[in-house]
């Protein structure tokens, strides 16, 4: 069956979203307690899978970014839709677990993190292509990701690590990831390019 064409720039579900939804649902059901005397701890793995999955989606989309502005904008929209579409599953795990954490943070923090990841991967791929080292991207990408994770472990409050960010809200993480997301969205959607063109 062929899906209808995309109308008015609205993104369409893809395999990435299907995998993410399936993974979250699987983890949620697997971690949900079978007996009433067992504590519900399903939110912790669900939050890690959702945050990590969204970050991975953003990173992969940034690494394989197409040069067109519309494609970049669509990629960012797909990340935003995936974040919204998976939020109820995490909310279900959260209210069942009743952790000492913030639901609002748990639901909204992964989106700027994923967009920042998109921006970091896009920057990396652009730089490597500029210096004609695009072939090294599959090697450089995990190395840079590992370096960023190491850096995060060194500097106190968790900023990027998907297994720590949901449970540890911090102003630093909000500021860093929101700034990264705004800069990424501005550059990727071509606002600055549009301004230069109009000038």
């Amino acid at each position: 069956m062929t899906p209808p064409t995309v109308a008015r720039g609205l993104p369409r579900a893809d395999a990435g979203l299907a995998l993410l939804l399936a993974a979250i649902a699987l983890v949620l059901v697997g971690a949900w307690p079978e007996r009433a005397d067992l504590a519900n701890a399903s939110w912790y793995p669900v939050a890690v899978v959702r945050t990590g999955g969204l970050l991975l989606l953003g990173w992969l989309a940034g690494s394989t970014v197409e040069p067109s502005r519309a494609a970049r904008r669509a990629a960012l929209l797909r990340i935003a839709v995936a974040s919204v579409a998976t939020a109820p599953l995490e909310a279900l795990a959260f209210v069942g677990t009743a952790p000492s954490a913030s639901l609002a943070w748990a639901l909204f923090a992964p989106l700027p993190l994923a967009i920042s990841g998109y921006g970091a991967a896009w920057t990396l791929s652009t730089v490597l292509r500029r210096v004609r080292l695009g072939w090294a991207l599959p090697l450089a990408s995990p190395l840079v990701a590992a370096g960023l994770a190491w850096l995060d472990l060194q500097i106190g409050p968790p900023l990027w690590l998907p297994w720590l960010v949901p449970a540890f809200p911090s102003l630093a993480a909000a500021a860093v990831n929101l700034s990264g997301a705004v800069v990424t969205a501005t550059l990727a959607s071509g606002v600055s390019a549009g301004r230069r063109a109009s000038a």
């Binding site: 949620l28 059901v29 519900n40």
Partner: protein
């Protein structure tokens, strides 16, 4: 020329004939100096006495002998220090566990004069106990106990004017402590660390209700069968021989024993200390585990898979209609999500174990606490943990920090209760059917285990005949005990 005479000696007023003022002053001086010196000496003595009295002091344990792994009476006395606060820090840790801090805070009444803080505290097997009594920024008194001062042997209290006679009465390993009637605890919890109480009639007698409370709490009480008139209420308790009472016993000291300073009879205690502990542990194990009302897993699986498939399909179809439909599904799911929240995030289950004999028993409340979110559970009353763990006791409340999804079991302070009629009747009718094996094994032949809701009664076969006068004071002893604490909601 008049003769020169010393002023004030022979010179007199020419008008009245009285000695001049200066002379009178000189004559009065020795008396005044003596009076002033006396007043000064009295003032100094008074001030010295006031300075010598400490502003605050603490008595830990019965007669100042704390027992590890037992409830101990704690009494802090402060003088003219309104709002003074007693703070204790107990390290219940060890080499393997590391530091396990347990903190105690209790406040004196915000009034002048002499104020007391009385509480019963479950002392664990400590590595260190430190305490201080402070008023604002000032520390009025402080002190501590190290690991070398830790002793978990129960006390054998001797109330006697000639205690040396009884030094070998309880065996070489016994921890014999000389006490006066004023040292004896009034509440059952204070007797938790006491194995025996011996009164030979040579010292001032305590109130009979205190002695009955001690016996009911599990102490082997040894009383003279004959004694001075002040001992009449006590000698009547053993007039008909030894008898079990509650978890302990009342036994008479024969004239031969009193003369020789030896105990001829074997202990007639209904329950030993180890048996009481085993009963509490078995009762705690039999306590139903607190539960949460989670959504059934099948419902969650259906909801999660259905939602994921529906949202993905609607987004895959795309277009404004698909997008709007997906948005509606998201809104509906968000509205339905709160239904998955458990109604009780901090469920508890409660029960008790009561060891009874001859119409009186000692009750130990049990409570199992579970907590879904990480945090501290607050319980009304003081509770002890069955295993070393972080705890706080603040002004009569117990603070139990728990990790997310954590659970623990706690025990309350022992209190004396009377055996109600329905339990006495059930004793004969139902026996020990259905009781856990761990509890049945603790009851000697002829005794029974009776269950009333989550309360287990371990009724000892009454040995001996309790004197009629004892039945009168048992009620008073039960009334003296604090009301059993209710901690939060019972499922």
């Amino acid at each position: 020329m008049p003769p020169l005479v010393p002023a004030g000696r022979s010179a007199r007023s020419p008008l009245t004939g009285a000695p001049p003022i200066r002379t009178a002053l000189l004559r009065a001086a020795p008396l005044r100096i003596a009076l002033a010196a006396l007043v000064l000496a009295l003032l100094l003595a008074s001030a010295n006495r006031a300075w010598a009295q400490p502003r605050a002091e603490l008595m830990l344990g019965v007669a100042g002998a704390p027992v590890a792994d037992a409830w101990n009476p704690v009494r802090a006395v402060v003088r003219d220090a309104p709002g003074a606060v007693l703070r204790m820090e107990i390290d219940a840790g060890g080499l393997e566990r590391g530091e396990v801090p347990q903190l105690v805070t209790a406040r004196a009444a915000p009034a002048g004069g002499v104020q007391r803080i009385d509480l019963d505290l479950p002392l664990p097997s400590w590595r260190r106990v430190s305490w201080r009594i402070e008023q604002g920024e000032r520390v009025l008194a402080s002190g501590g106990l190290g690991a070398r001062e830790r002793d978990d042997r129960p006390l054998h209290l001797v109330v006697s004017a000639r205690p040396a006679r009884w030094s070998a009465a309880f065996g070489p390993e016994a921890r014999v402590v000389v006490a006066s009637a004023a040292d004896l605890p009034t509440r059952a919890a204070g007797w938790d660390g006491v194995a025996a109480l011996l009164l030979d009639g040579t010292a001032a007698a305590p109130a009979d209700a205190i002695v009955v409370t001690a016996a009911a709490a599990g102490v082997r009480v040894l009383l003279p069968t004959e004694g001075p008139s002040g001992y009449a209420p006590l000698t009547r308790l053993v007039a008909r021989g030894a008898s079990s009472l509650g978890a302990g016993s009342l036994e008479g000291l024969s004239a031969a024993s009193l003369a020789a300073g030896r105990l001829n009879a074997e202990p007639a205690a209904a329950w030993g200390r180890e048996a009481r502990r085993a009963a509490v542990a078995a009762g705690a194990a039999a306590l139903p585990a607190p539960t949460w009302d989670h959504l059934p897993k099948l419902v969650v699986a259906g909801a999660a898979v259905g939602f994921a498939a529906l949202v993905w399909t609607l987004l895959w179809l795309g277009g404004p209609a698909g997008f709007a439909s997906a948005a509606l599904v998201l809104v509906a799911a968000s509205v339905a999500v709160p239904a998955a929240a458990p109604t009780d995030r901090e469920p508890r289950s409660q029960g008790a174990v009561i060891l009874a004999s001859n119409g009186l028993g000692v009750r130990t409340d049990l409570i199992a606490v579970a907590r879904l979110p990480e945090g501290a559970s607050q319980l009304d009353g003081l509770f002890a943990s069955l295993e070393p763990r972080r705890l706080g006791w603040n002004d009569g409340r117990t603070n139990v920090p728990l990790p997310a999804g954590g659970r623990t079991r706690l025990t309350g302070a022992p209190v004396v209760v009377t055996v109600p009629d329905d339990v006495r009747e059930a004793t004969a009718a139902t026996g020990s059917d259905g009781a856990p094996e761990a509890l049945r094994a603790l009851v000697p032949s002829g005794g029974v285990v009776v269950r009333r809701e989550n309360v287990w009664w371990l009724v000892h076969p009454s040995s001996g005949e309790l004197a009629a006068s004892a039945r009168g004071v048992t009620h008073e002893a039960a009334m003296r005990a604090p009301t059993p604490v209710t901690a939060g909601a019972t499922p």
